[in-house]
């Protein structure tokens, strides 16, 4: 797995999908990200990343039931695959490893 490096946006998207668990569909992900991270996310950017992650095998998706809202269009729910979970875990450990290697005073100063 070591070769597959996640991009920052990809990581954030995957984490958000993980947070939302069974409710992770396009618009909900955007809402969640805008709320938590305070940044603008366009549907285009998000959807491209979602498809890419799906192609890489980190996410899987399935269509939900049709509802009366949103013009009767079905939602596509995303889930983390086990490969996705592994890569998230790996990324987290890499980050932590890096954090742990940083001398404490540097961080304090920089704040």
């Amino acid at each position: 797995m070591g070769k597959h490096q996640l991009g920052e946006f990809e990581e954030v998207v995957m984490l958000t999908v993980a947070i939302l668990t069974d409710e992770a569909y396009g618009f909900a992900i955007i809402e969640e990200m805008e709320k938590r991270l305070n940044r603008k996310v366009s549907i285009g950017a998000l959807q491209t990343v979602l498809r890419r992650l799906e192609k890489k095998g980190y996410l899987s998706s399935e269509m939900g039931e049709a509802t009366a809202v949103r013009g009767g269009k079905r939602k596509r729910f995303f889930h983390l695959t086990s490969a996705g979970k592994n890569v998230l875990q790996e990324t987290k450990e890499q980050r932590l490893g890096l954090w742990n290697a940083v001398p404490e005073f540097v961080v304090k100063f920089s704040y």
């Binding site: 955007i30 959807q47 269009k73």
Partner: protein, 858 residues
């Protein structure tokens, strides 16, 4: 609820990948709803979101939409075809090699044929131009010539208004041109000013009206470069020599170089007025020294013009034996042959022959493709079955096979074009042409048309046949159908292939036999080591001195001043002969030679009666020697000592020689006569000792340069001249050798492929037979049996056909070889042998294989 903006939504639906469209649209709408509730500029933001979705990951792929679905099939077919090529390398290779070879032949033939058909047709008004011909009838038959009297041309201008223009010229001859005593042997013609108006030989500089003055000359650009080393030579002068004449002409214009599209290329034009006034002694209606061209605006008036031409002619010289008529100017090259006064083709025969042979070769290669792809279809049966059960229609499957043959023909055509470019040089040497692909980009486009043509011809049968397979049979049985049924079709095709090949072999054999016969035939005169050159300049004034010097050269056996030439352009014939007992219609056109006392001996002609000329006698000028045909035609009995009346006076018959061939074997033996008129002889002829030709010629040249320094020494051999008359035939013979060799090769490739296939299928059978104790030779024999049958049938079918073709071709010759059984036997034997070798190598290999190997894998 507010509606989202329409156009961005439509745009989104159009570009979005169909798999994603639903959920992303839902997201868009949900966001839009939320933004409307928050009362933000939702519509703009919606559009912005749509725009941001317009990116590679979201936009639909070009494959996979309904409209472009063929692309997927295309890709699939390509893949299947390429895999097929890879798996059946032998079949692919055979098909490809066969197609490339045949296409290369065909493309070369197309180039050659195109060049032939274009000859003399580049003149803008060539379809309105007609050449006046004259037809003589006499006891020896009807002869046709382009010659008419030059006096008729002014008459045409005044008396025949239907002929809107006319021109007069001579044929092309070789003359010597010189500047500062440096001579060049150059081809040129005499013509009047109208000649350049009717024919498109453009002038680069100067004026065509210059031809109205008898002292002007027009030369081509390349001749100017050759003689003067520069192009701008208008106003300069040069000397023209012919025989004993020498005249100075002023260059009045430069002509564009005459290309190979002209059948009779020339490098200069001299004024007709000079020719007519200075060179023609007898300007009568009976002297046919001119070549007249007329232009008609209304082609339907051709027969009217012919009628008037004859009226004019008969009014001036009443002669029932001569009839004038018109033929298309551009026909001179391809349709220049006359028999009994009728136009009977000519080189067009070669053009037709080449087209047929090229078509044969192409057909043979296509048959290979059909045979091999149907044979190997059994290997594809499963694939077809599976595809059909998935709902592939016949059309889909047919398309797949067409695709495969198109792909193959595409590869083959490209390769063939490359081959044509690479082999252009040797081909040009072989055919004596200057063909090139580069200045003819249209040709390449035509060539590319071969891709669909070959693809469809070759793919048609497999496509129809294989797409009709029934699903169940295709899936169930490993081997397709009953073997006999399929093999029957293939055998027929093999039969056709071999028939065509045998036809080509027989043709080649007959052609080369006739060529051998013609070139080695005893012509009645001894043409070996016989050399001649033009009698010009000093050779006239100091002729006797030169000849006695010549005779003293060791290695020179005999020298003669003579007019003998095998070239029809240089021969004299006359009808002006009277004798006692001549009948009303008994005019005889006799070949005439003017020479000195040795002119008969030097040719090695055999004397039948009387004697040859003797210098010591004073009255030799009143003597004549005839050949046997002439005496027979005139019907003179006991001819020696009798006299005939020639237009130069009374002549006594002193000798009779055996018949000899005056031109080539195309013509029958004709009447001939020799006069003692050394002063009229055009050439000096030298008979050299055998084996000493080289040193003799060197000494000749030194002597010639001494006497005639300003003339180039260009001696010619009579036997080479004779060979040159068969030049076009020789070239055709070489070409047909190559073509029939290739045809055989391609057929054998096909046979080879079929054998591989059969052996593959029968591996088990062979194994079992061997285990049961079958002899390996019997095995091999049983495998070759079918093919042998086909080849035998082909032989039986072809021999009568080729016999008829052969007879027809040999009719072109007055004297020809007999068609012997051995020719056909050789052709049949060669075909059979090659087939056996091809098939045998594979079958023996199979028969020798260890049965364990073929039986163990299951």
């Amino acid at each position: 609820m507010k509606q989202p903006p329409k156009y961005p939504l439509h745009f989104f639906r159009w570009f979005c990948h169909p798999d994603y469209v639903e959920d992303i649209e839902g997201d868009l709408l949900e966001r839009f709803e939320k933004r409307t509730n928050e009362n933000r500029s939702a519509r703009w933001l919606f559009a912005l979101d749509v725009l941001r979705l317009f990116r590679p990951g979201i936009i639909q792929n070009f494959e996979g939409t309904k409209k472009l679905n063929y692309y997927g099939m295309f890709k699939h077919n390509l893949l299947i075809s390429l895999r097929g090529f890879k798996r059946h390398k032998a079949v692919f290779g055979i098909n490809l090699i066969g197609l490339i070879t045949s296409l290369t032949c065909v493309l070369f033939s197309v180039l050659w044929i195109n060049d032939e058909l274009q000859k003399d047709r580049f003149h803008a008004e060539s379809d309105k131009l007609f050449q006046v011909h004259s037809k003589f009838t006499n006891v020896s038959g009807i002869t046709v010539s382009r010659g008419v009297t030059g006096l008729i041309e002014p008459e045409i201008e005044t008396q025949i208004p239907q002929a809107v223009a006319s021109a007069v010229s001579t044929d092309v001859h070789e003359y010597t041109l010189s500047i500062n005593k440096k001579g060049f042997r150059v081809k040129g013609r005499f013509a009047d000013f109208d000649y350049l108006k009717l024919l498109d030989y453009p002038l680069l500089s100067g004026d065509a009206t210059a031809l109205n003055e008898p002292t002007n000359i027009l030369i081509t650009k390349s001749l100017a470069m050759k003689m003067f080393g520069k192009e701008d030579v208008v106003g300069e002068t040069l000397d023209w020599h012919f025989w004993s004449r020498e005249n100075t002409f002023q260059i009045a214009g430069i002509l564009e170089d005459v290309t190979s599209a002209t059948s009779e290329p020339f490098e200069f034009i001299l004024p007709w007025t000079f020719y007519h006034d200075e060179l023609i002694n007898y300007k009568g209606w009976g002297n046919f020294y001119g070549r007249v061209l007329v232009k008609l605006d209304d082609l339907s008036q051709k027969s009217l013009v012919e009628e008037k031409l004859n009226e004019i002619f008969q009014a001036n010289q009443s002669n029932e034996n001569v009839e004038l008529f018109l033929t298309g100017y551009s026909d001179r090259y391809l349709y220049g042959k006359y028999e009994n006064g009728e136009q009977v083709g000519g080189r067009i025969e070669y053009v037709k022959l080449t087209s047929i042979v090229a078509a044969f070769i192409l057909l043979i290669a296509c048959i290979n493709f059909v045979n091999l792809s149907t044979a190997f279809a059994s290997l594809k049966a499963k694939e077809i079955g599976v595809k059909k059960s998935f709902g592939a229609s016949k059309r889909n499957l047919a398309f797949q096979f067409f695709f495969e043959s198109l792909l193959l023909s595409f590869l083959a055509t490209l390769a063939a074009i490359l081959f044509v470019v690479a082999l252009m040089e040797p081909f040009n040497q072989l055919t004596g042409k200057q063909l090139s692909l580069l200045p003819q980009p249209m040709m390449i486009v035509y060539f590319l048309l071969f891709i669909p043509i070959i693809g469809i011809i070759a793919g048609l049968y497999p496509a129809i046949h294989l797409s009709r397979l029934k699903v169940i049979t295709a899936l169930k049985s490993k081997v397709l159908g009953s073997q006999n049924h399929k093999a029957w079709g293939r055998q027929t095709l093999v039969l056709i292939q071999f028939s065509l090949s045998i036809l080509l072999i027989v043709g080649t054999l007959i052609v080369s036999k006739q060529m051998d016969y013609a070139l080695n035939k005893n012509l009645g005169y001894d043409r070996d080591n016989l050399l001649y050159f033009l009698r010009e300049g000093q050779l006239f004034e100091n002729g006797q001195a030169f000849i006695s010097e010549l005779e003293s050269i060791p290695g020179v056996q005999q020298v003669s001043e003579t007019g003998f030439s095998v070239s029809p352009n240089m021969q004299n014939r006359t009808g002006g002969l009277d004798w006692v007992g001549k009948g009303e219609d008994q005019q005889v056109n006799v070949w005439e030679n003017n020479g000195d006392a040795h002119s008969v001996d030097i040719l090695g002609l055999e004397l039948v009666a009387g004697r040859t000329f003797q210098e010591v006698l004073n009255n030799e000028k009143e003597s004549v020697i005839f050949n046997e045909t002439a005496i027979r035609m005139m019907g003179i009995e006991n001819p020696i000592g009798k006299t005939v009346e020639h237009y130069t006076g009374k002549k006594e018959i002193i000798g009779i020689v055996k018949d000899f061939t005056t031109e080539s074997l195309h013509n029958p033996m004709e009447p001939a006569m020799f006069f003692y008129r050394p002063e009229r002889a055009h050439y000096i002829m030298v008979k050299m000792e055998n084996g000493k030709e080289f040193e003799t010629i060197e000494k000749l040249e030194t002597l010639y340069k001494e006497f005639n320094p300003s003339y180039p020494f260009e001696p010619k051999f009579v036997d080479q001249d004779y060979q040159a008359m068969y030049d076009s035939e020789m070239r055709m013979a070489n070409l047909s050798h190559i073509f029939s060799g290739l045809a055989i090769l391609i057929s054998c490739l096909g046979l080879f492929g079929l054998t591989i296939f059969q052996v593959q299928r029968k591996v088990k059978e062979i194994g079992i037979k061997k285990v049961l104790g079958c002899d390996r030779w019997k095995l091999a024999l049983s495998m070759t049996y079918n093919f042998t049958k086909a080849v035998f049938l082909a032989i039986i079918i072809t021999i009568p056909i080729s016999y008829l073709f052969g007879l027809r071709w040999l009719e072109n010759y007055a004297e020809s070889v007999q068609l012997s059984m051995s020719t056909f036997a050789i052709a049949a034997g060669v075909a059979l042998l090659i087939a056996w070798i091809t098939v045998g190598s594979q079958t023996i290999k199979a028969a020798n294989a260890n049965p364990v190997d073929s039986l163990k894998d299951e």
